[in-house]
Amino acid sequence: MASDTSRLGFYLLLAPILLWLLVLIILPHVGLFIVSISERVGPREYETGFDNYAAFFNEPLYWRTFARTAIMSILATVLTLILGFPIAYYIAKLTRGRTKTTLFLMCMIPFWVSELVRTFGWMILLRETGVISNALQYLGLVDGPVEMLYNDAAIMVGLVYTSILFMVVPLVTTLDSLDDSLIEAGHDLGGTSTSIMREIVIPHAMPGIVSGCIVVFMLSLGNYLTPILLGGKDSLWFTGMIYTQFITRFNWELGSAFGFLLLLLSSLVVFAGLKLSRQSLTETMGRT
């Protein structure tokens, strides 16, 4: 645009972003990779090699947890989409003015507190001596205390809760931009609610759906607190494994390899999602 304005201004604007991306994103990841390909051969002695990656593939625990995390994250994403879409649609298309703003803000409720507090809230609700168990007993629906914490369902509840906002917001934004007259036109031309949803609303909302899904998937995949605190003894999460390698095993090399694999996985799934939905990262994520 301003091709003939001062170059100095341009470079001054360019400097911060280059510095940021280089120093905090690119170099650290290069560093991470380098560490991930060093093997410990003795105290304070390292060699270059792919042993850490080999360890990952040779230990079923690692790759099973990896796969489990990926699958659960995808599941959480799909669930969030299914639960969030009707809400976003309701806010965008069936409410106006004050109600709309209020409902929209109410979707932000979980964001008012840290993930830790949200998870803590779910722990109070779900535990054996918790609110829901007591309520069910009080209502006479169950005889004794029921344990709802420490299982995969609790993790799902927590993951969906934590990320629903990031699904609803982009969906509301894109659905808002869908002109009501397009839906009316669909009806006028004989469409039913289902066919209009399928042929008009969803294709229009696709960028929002994809960007919401990417964010939710990333949040779930990278989540640490929810699976740790709500999950049970079988509920392993890959970030937990990374944490364990870094913190309790002092094995930064293997931890780095895990980190790198997780990064690869997330990029792969996001890339596949974008390809399948024929969206581009810049278009979906770049629109806030």
């Binding site: 009707p86 109410m106 979980p110 008012w112 840290s114 803590f120 770049g286």
Partner: protein, 284 residues
């Protein structure tokens, strides 16, 4: 579908019921967290043992209130300190990025934009460990070479700030860019035409126009920084921000002090959110 397209009453009714249930689901955990901040029991759970404010003001063990928990008070201060820096840096760099991407064309722009979005698809833990690993190796190398200590490159507040900044900046850039995109460049030209200097035009016209976005992204940055856990966990040194302190406490076992802190946090976030909202409606 939409209000102008007639629908069966039953379907409408079901839809509304679902929406209601959904919002109950959203409100539930926070409500219980708040309510149990007042339970006169050392364990934040049923049964209800009566109302108390001890978890805020108590001084007698085990009823030590938030306001007397030094670690928590200190970590709130730490969090605020981190949040201010992160939001200040993120907004500053975000504003530069907005001008760069909206106002300039250059080779590699699309690539750079993609790179800018990258932090959105890097899990927070990975950002944390990569910065940790990188800065440690850098520090080791520098220390070996110079014999000096480079404590800034070791886990601590500087790394926490940098780590959070590394992905929050993307959000700030997007919010501010979106607003700048809506800016009509002829406004700036009009200012030049009326005798303003180039910087004067940006200061008097463009920046005030961007202000709502700048405020919004500052608030969002503060909230994100306050609640960040994954990245921070890996980079924290001896000064831990609130979430980390709370996590450490929670690992020891949940106590209603955590409920009390959470209640305070909810109130602060709500107030912040309301303020930025009011600010924006006033501006618009």
């Amino acid at each position: 579908m939409i209000p102008t397209v007639p629908q069966p009453a039953f379907a409408k009714w079901c839809y509304r019921a679902y929406v209601t249930v959904f919002f109950v689901y959203l409100a539930l955990p926070l409500t219980v967290v708040c309510v149990f901040a007042f339970n006169n029991s050392v364990f934040p759970s049923m049964p209800w043992k009566g109302f108390t404010l001890a978890w805020f003001f108590g001084t007698e063990a085990p009823f030590i209130g938030v306001f007397h928990e030094r670690a928590i008070i200190r970590s709130i201060g730490t969090s605020a300190f981190v949040a201010m820096w992160v939001s200040g840096l993120a907004v500053a760099v975000g504003t530069c990025n907005a001008f760069l991407f909206v106002r300039h064309d250059f080779r590699g722009k699309a690539l750079l934009y993609m790179l800018m979005l990258l932090p959105l698809i890097i899990p927070g833990v990975i950002l944390g460990i990569s910065i940790l690993v990188f800065s440690s190796s850098l520090a080791n190398a520098l220390e070996d070479a110079t014999g000096l200590w480079f404590d800034g490159l070791r886990p601590g507040l500087i790394l926490v700030i940098l780590g959070q900044f590394s992905f929050i900046t993307t959000f700030a850039s997007l919010v501010i860019s979106a607003r700048l995109q809506k800016f009509d460049p002829s406004l700036e030209e009009a200012a030049l035409n009326l005798g303003a200097t180039k910087w004067g035009a940006i200061r008097q016209i463009t920046l005030p126009f961007l202000l709502p976005a700048i405020v919004a992204s500052a608030v969002v940055s503060i909230l994100m920084s306050f609640e960040n856990f994954n990245t921070t966990l890996m980079l924290v040194g001896s000064d831990s921000p609130l979430t980390i302190t709370m996590f450490d406490k929670l690992k020891q076992g949940s106590t209603p002090v955590l409920n009390a802190v959470s209640l305070l946090l909810i109130m602060i976030s709500a107030a912040l959110g309301m303020m930025s909202l009011l600010f924006q409606t006033k501006r618009r």
